[in-house]
Amino acid sequence: MSDNILRCSIKAVGGWGQNYTNWQELSELLTTGATAENTASSPKPEIIPANERRRAPLPVKLAVESSWQATQSAGLDPKDLACVFVSGLGDTQLTDYMCKVLATENMQLSPTKFHNSVHNAAAGYWTISTGCMKAANSVAGFNESVSLAILEAVTQCVQEQAPVQITFYDAPSSEILKPLLKNDQSFSASLIIEPVLESNQTDSNLLEMQVVSQATEWPELDLETHLDTSYKQNPSARILAVLNMLTKDSADTVLLPLSAETSLQLTLHNPKLVN
């Protein structure tokens, strides 16, 4: 391999956030500049059985809702998809619960809340709800969560020649941690990516990924006010830099920060607004 460029195509998108309930609404916010309105405070992902859904924390519901939308839109069975879940902040409400209880004398934790506190709770609920037995990953990358999760999912898609679902999600931070992890926005989005033939240049939403040895900052985007707040506060909302390219008429490139001295260069060829 000489140029180190990895290629895949974006097959479908899903999403649920503070100001939108699906990808169609989000893409309209990206293209029309209309002012966003608040949606409900939490999605109700039907795919999670009702008794499990009641116990599912908000970040899990965000992640599962957007993942379900993307797989439905792609017309794919979740059973056939490896998945990569990423959250930059983790479930700070559960961290808050655990640390408050553990600061008391009795230290008695709820067993359900304890098993829900694992970072891979979203991957767990997703695979249990859908019957998916494929590889499920759960990663964290703090401010670079979006670029690192894309790196992880695209290398997996290309090396294993199999479709991968990527879900980016972060919920508002708990009060005590908010001064450090400044996020009061719910945001989730999912992508389904598929391998492409080396020779194929005509696929819709053909994504080329390259790791370049150069530092960069998150690009400035011309976003509607509420989305802009999410983009600046919520580590997962930085996927808007990629989703934005899907709404354009022609090929575009973005450079995303990946580490202290590397960036992820993403070029989207043949953009087509998928449902």
């Binding site: 490896a82 695979t127 249990i128 499920a136 964290a140 990358g141 703090f142 090396q159 005590i176 580490s259």
Partner: protein, 400 residues
């Protein structure tokens, strides 16, 4: 996918049983356990733990957490840092990657911070550590500590976390996004896990006895482990061990109970064997997940008995250092690798009477035997499974 060119260049392990791999060899040879009765400060749980006391007094300033102290102490062992310096110079620091696995990250520090809130219920200045109080804490700290400036990620899939780092490392190397990668795992004792596992009634009041008739639960421990991986063609020297295969799967069953027939585990093992292009009977040794819980050992034991012949020797090594959660994957992968290098199979420490429902090759005694292909199993909450196969390179050339 075929990955027959990912070499293990160097590795180190720090656990309650030993500070480094050299000492661990001695502890395994002599069957000396690092377990002790719970003496973790302010915890009155009646259980046994694998505690690394050497990290108690490490002070990392703005990076302080017990988990980061464990990561730092592990990095001081052996030649890992020296190897990284050489690779940073040879390839540039931005061409080296970091992949850490952890289940707790630095939640120990968040727990401590909550015990020292100010009168308004806010974090006091010494605990205002954004880069510590987040799940990517281990990746951020190890990047800071090593000066590696390439991509650094943290995998948090509970007890399979630091097994999966090998799979991700292999994919990054095969994709040429890095020229060398430090994979690792770190987890430390904290109240979240001690009292969390207690709430699930999974802790044993005795030293754990994996696969024994009388096993009555798990012991928790802390550890760090590191390995440097590279593509074979770029290696000037290596350990003579390669990552031959990996398998990742999901149970799709329950958040904290394994699949009753071990279907997810079976799928991970089959995938790893397929990638390594090996039939089950070629596996000489398996380091089992073997937590000493009723459910895991029963399910894993039956599965192994049904998949592998009696020539495949197995053991759980958790009797040496306890279940180190997010660090267990790499700790046990390294024990399997070291077994292959030293041709010594660690016994299944504390096993007296094998569970009468189980039938596979497992014994408390160490066995000296020439090993070619070894395997390590890791299963985590959320039904997250990972199986790794490592092979001696001399025996494999052109075989796949």
């Amino acid at each position: 996918m075929n990955i027959r060119n990912i070499r293990i260049v160097d590795y180190e392990s720090t656990t309650a049983a030993a500070d480094n791999i050299e000492q661990l060899r001695i502890a395994i040879k002599n069957q000396t356990s690092g377990l002790r009765k719970n003496d973790f400060p302010f915890s009155d749980l009646d259980t046994w733990i694998g505690r690394v006391s050497a990290i108690d007094d490490i002070d990392l300033g703005e990076w302080q957490s017990r988990n980061n102290a464990m990561a730092a102490y592990g990095l001081q062992q052996g030649t890992i840092l020296a190897q990284l310096e050489t690779l940073k110079t040879r390839f540039r620091p931005s061409r080296v990657g970091i992949i850490m696995g952890s289940s707790t990250s630095s939640i120990d520090r968040t727990e401590t911070a909550y015990r020292h809130l100010d009168e308004n219920g806010a974090l006091t200045p010494e605990y205002q550590q954004a880069t510590v109080h987040n799940p990517h804490g281990p990746g951020l700290f190890v990047a800071h500590k090593t000066g590696v400036t390439g991509p650094a990620i943290t995998i948090n899939t509970a007890c399979s976390s630091s097994a999966k780092v090998f799979a991700t490392g292999a994919r990054w190397l095969q994709s040429h996004v890095v020229d060398a990668v430090l994979v690792g795992g770190v987890d430390t004792l904290c109240y979240s896990v001690l009292h969390g596992f207690d709430s699930l009634q999974l802790l044993s009041q005795n030293p754990c006895k994996p696969f024994d008739n009388d096993r009555d639960g798990i012991n928790l421990g802390e550890a760090s482990g590191y390995a440097i991986l590279m593509r074979a063609e770029d290696c000037e020297t290596d350990t003579g061990i390669e990552l031959a295969g990996y398998g990742e799967s999901s149970d799709a069953h329950h958040m904290s109970h394994p699949h009753p027939e071990g279907l997810g585990a079976k799928q991970a093992i089959e995938s790893a064997l397929r990638m390594a292009n090996l039939p089950a009977e070629e596996i000489d040794y398996i380091n089992l997940h073997g937590t000493s819980s009723q459910a895991n050992d029963s399910i894993e034991g039956k599965l192994i008995g049904s998949m592998f012949p009696s020539s495949t020797q197995c053991s759980s090594t958790k009797g040496w250092m306890a279940h180190t959660l997010g660090a267990a994957g790499i700790t046990e992968a390294l024990i399997a690798i070291d077994a292959a290098r030293t041709d010594l199979i660690p016994g299944s420490l504390n096993l007296s009477n094998l569970d009468s429902e189980l039938d596979f090759s497992i014994t408390p005694e160490n066995i000296e035997r020439s090993l070619t292909h070894v395997m390590s199993n890791s299963f985590g909450f959320g039904g997250n499974n990972c199986c790794l196969v490592f092979s001696k390179t001399d025996n494999n050339k052109g075989s796949a």
